[in-house]
């Protein structure tokens, strides 16, 4: 098999030493599984030939980008798997300024793509926090979000077309540059958040917008988490759509302050970080001023608006360092990404605190409050079996809390392996049945990332 793969890719494109296999056994979670080989295709044609080979031999193929996933979607749980890693397909093929589109290969790093289009005054808004260490292909396969999604939408909102290698090796091209297209099923959308189970995305055509030139950022501290949550709704009710509306709870603030010493008040229950952007300075300023007023009316203890770029970076530093500050506290953290209707945020946060107290493990909460997307992070040590079993129970209870208020398991990370046990409960049997049929129609041999999303 290695020989055959090397014939397609050259020996440089096939990895199979124990060391190579070990480092492709993980993603951004604690899950692990060692594959039998790793291949690094450089073209769609090579990808197609690899798939044909795998189909013939019935070998599972696990698609992977930079391995920053948080649901173990690209972990090769089956030891017979071949990991197909797209990092070497990293060319930006065309930036069409007139139609505001970019055609890029799957392995382009999202931040690199943004930097390139911004040179031409264009803007690709989706901004997952892994923006510098994740790829466009992975972003599409997980339909990545990020703070800016409140105003700008998620990855699939920018998807115009795809090149996908199907499970039999055929190459499917979907969509095109027209913004409107109702000719047939929307296959492009179907592959967004398909997690490598329906086809292998090798190229994407993405829609761009004009780059906003003005940004204003505010940080508001609240004595009451409920007030912070209500503020979110009050802002949106006034017809203002901020670019970002981020919430950080007290547990997380205390962790950040312990790690970073930024001078944050640790006796507040929550902070909101709010940003407005656009191309007209007076509008952006007026909006941030209005937001400041609404925050104070809703009970904010203090509201600070950044006056300089440096101050703005300072405000974001707190938000950006949440994940890392938590990681310093414990060997493992399990970050979930439940998403609930905005109005239910206070109730869910209360339930999350109850879950933490009941099991005696800390849960820090932060997230994109504007779109109801919360990241409860359980801090633990996986080597301690008692803690690990608690974590598994807590995970179930967190999902239950989200579902009970009309929310969903995952707003950004996807299902992968980690949320698989809760999949059917969340969606119901009819939905899962339809999805299984789609999967079977496209991948009858079940060689594309088997065991992800659905139980085998």
């Amino acid at each position: 098999m290695i020989e055959k793969l090397a014939k397609i890719l050259g020996y440089d494109g096939v990895l199979c030493t124990p060391e190579d296999l070990a480092v492709y056994s993980y993603d951004g979670t604690f899950a692990e599984g060692v594959p039998r080989a790793v291949v690094l295709p450089e073209t769609t044609g090579q990808t197609s030939e690899i798939v044909k080979l795998a189909a013939e031999a019935r070998i599972p193929l696990v698609a992977r980008g930079m391995g920053s996933g948080l649901a173990a979607g690209s972990v090769p749980i089956n030891s017979e798997s071949i990991v197909i890693c797209f990092t070497r397909m990293n060319r930006i093929l065309e930036i069409d300024a007139q139609n505001a589109t970019v055609q890029a290969e799957a392995g382009v790093v999202t931040a690199d793509l943004q930097a390139e289009v911004e040179k031409q005054g264009l803007f690709y808004p989706p901004d997952p926090s892994s923006i510098r260490h994740s790829t466009i292909g992975g972003n599409i396969a997980c339909n990545a979000g990020g703070p800016r999604c409140l105003k700008y939408g998620v990855t699939s909102n920018y998807l115009l077309g795809l090149t996908v290698v199907l499970a039999d090796g055929r190459i499917l091209k979907t969509g095109g540059k027209p913004i409107k297209d109702v000719t047939g099923y929307n296959l492009t959308s179907m592959f967004a958040s398909s997690e490598g189970t329906l086809g292998l995305i090798t190229e994407a055509l993405l829609r761009l917008v004009a780059r906003p030139t003005q940004v204003r950022t505010a940080l508001a501290e609240f004595d009451s988490l409920a007030n912070a949550s209500h503020t979110v709704n009050a802002i949106l009710a006034e017809g203002i759509v901020p670019a970002t509306l981020e919430l950080v709870d007290q547990t997380a603030i205390v962790c950040i302050e312990e790690a970073m010493h930024l001078g944050l008040a640790t006796d507040v229950e929550a902070v909101l970080i709010i940003e407005t952007d656009g191309s007209d300075e007076s509008t952006v300023v007026r909006e941030i001023d209005a937001i400041g007023r609404i925050c104070r009316e809703s009970g904010a203890r203090t509201v600070k608006v950044a006056k300089t770029g440096e101050e703005r970076d300072g405000l974001w530093k707190a938000r950006r360092s949440v994940g890392s500050s938590l990681a310093r506290k414990a060997p493992n953290k399990l970050g979930e990404d439940i998403t609930v209707p905005r109005s239910a945020i206070p109730e869910v946060v209360e339930r999350l605190r109850g879950i933490s107290a009941k099991h005696g493990l800390p849960i820090a909460i932060f997230g994109h409050a504007g779109d109801g997307n919360l990241h409860p992070n359980i801090l633990f040590d996986k080597r301690n079996p008692e803690q690990w079993s608690k974590v598994q129970r807590m995970m179930g209870e967190i999902f239950e809390a989200a579902l009970s208020v009309g929310g969903t398991l995952s707003g950004e990370h996807g299902v992968g392996v980690l949320k698989r046990p809760y999949f059917e409960h969340a969606l119901g049997t009819v939905s899962v049945d339809v999805q299984r049929r789609i999967k079977h129609a496209l991948d009858p041999l079940n060689i594309l990332n088997p065991g992800k999303m659905f139980e085998d």
Partner: protein
Amino acid sequence: MELEKPEESTYLNCIRCGLCLAVCPTYREYLKETASPRGRVALTRKGLEGKLDLSPNLIEEMYGCFACMACNDICPVGIQPANLALSMRYVQEQRQPKKWKEVIFKGLLSKAGRLELAMLPLRLYEKLGIRRLVYFLRLNRLLPDRIRDLEAMLPRIPQRPLRRVLPEITEAHGETRYRIGFFLGCAQSLLFAEQSAATLRVLARNGCTVITPKDIECCGMPARGYGRMDLVLSQARQNIAVFERFNVDVIVADCATCGSTLKEYDSLFARDPEWADRAAAFRSKVRDVSEFLAGIPLKKPTGRIEARVTYHDPCHLRRAQKVWKEPRKLLSLIDGLEFVEMPEADWCCGSAGSQLITHYDTSRKVLDRKLDNIEETEADIIASGCPGCRMQLKTGLQRRGTPARVVHPVTLLDEAYGGGDGRQND
């Protein structure tokens, strides 16, 4: 014997987020996980936990790291993947010591005199000088044409090593305001003698009486890079003891690598009751030359340099010492000089000590990215405070036919002061 190996706490909390992949020069060239910091941390952990053999392959991945430390800086959890890669090299040397390393790092490098002597009969090939290992590695793993390629582009070797030429005491011009100990590194002495001479002139011109001890040993970085931590410790002890003989306020290095290593002496001996205080006292005095000069009132240079100048941040200054504003500040003092920042000024140039020889292909790829960024500035002069970087950049620019000059920033300051001819009267 119990191996000295990285403590569990130095790798256990890696959350495998992948942020380090974005900034790693070797990952960005090969685009495979094995060549990434996160990969090296995973291999370290699995190797030390016994889940993987400490195989030659695994150790080679540790030598694949260029130790630019960009990963150390970006890691949100505080893991230092570059340091782990170096520690694993030491683990390997304890398990299977290589005789040639004893010869090179203990025999040759420890004594400046021996190194200078070795330069003599090996004039032609040994002109690679700073790449002290070439003679050996050429036999081991290099194609001769690569050596010729590199060797042809090396700086002109000074007639005599600066160590032999410099007086032990260089008096300040006018009143002595600072007593400086100068750590004259091997590369500066053997290959960039004129630039270190310029450093001394600039110091003297600004009220420094400079003592240059002649019996220092190598700073320790080469031995550290090749996993001989034991030798680093003995070299550090010697250097600490040497400078204890002199009553100096500050110890200045004009080599980024030497400076960064000297600044680590305190952490090397943190748990050694006999040496901890002495090492800490030594460490507290160490400054890079640009760091020292930027912190004292300087005489305004009267000469002009009409040129477009850019600055390349050596990893051993920017990452290891957090010194990057200071050299830019010095350049801004020079009239006529137009400073232009290059994109990714702090991205590794690929020199990485001897890796430009042992990992020639990778080194060239990393260098190409740097050269593209340099060429974008259309600079006439590239300043950089590290001899390894300067050789690498000079080699690359010559290969591309770009006529730019590559110098230490303090050399430009010296020229603006009138250089060795004393054109600027004090």
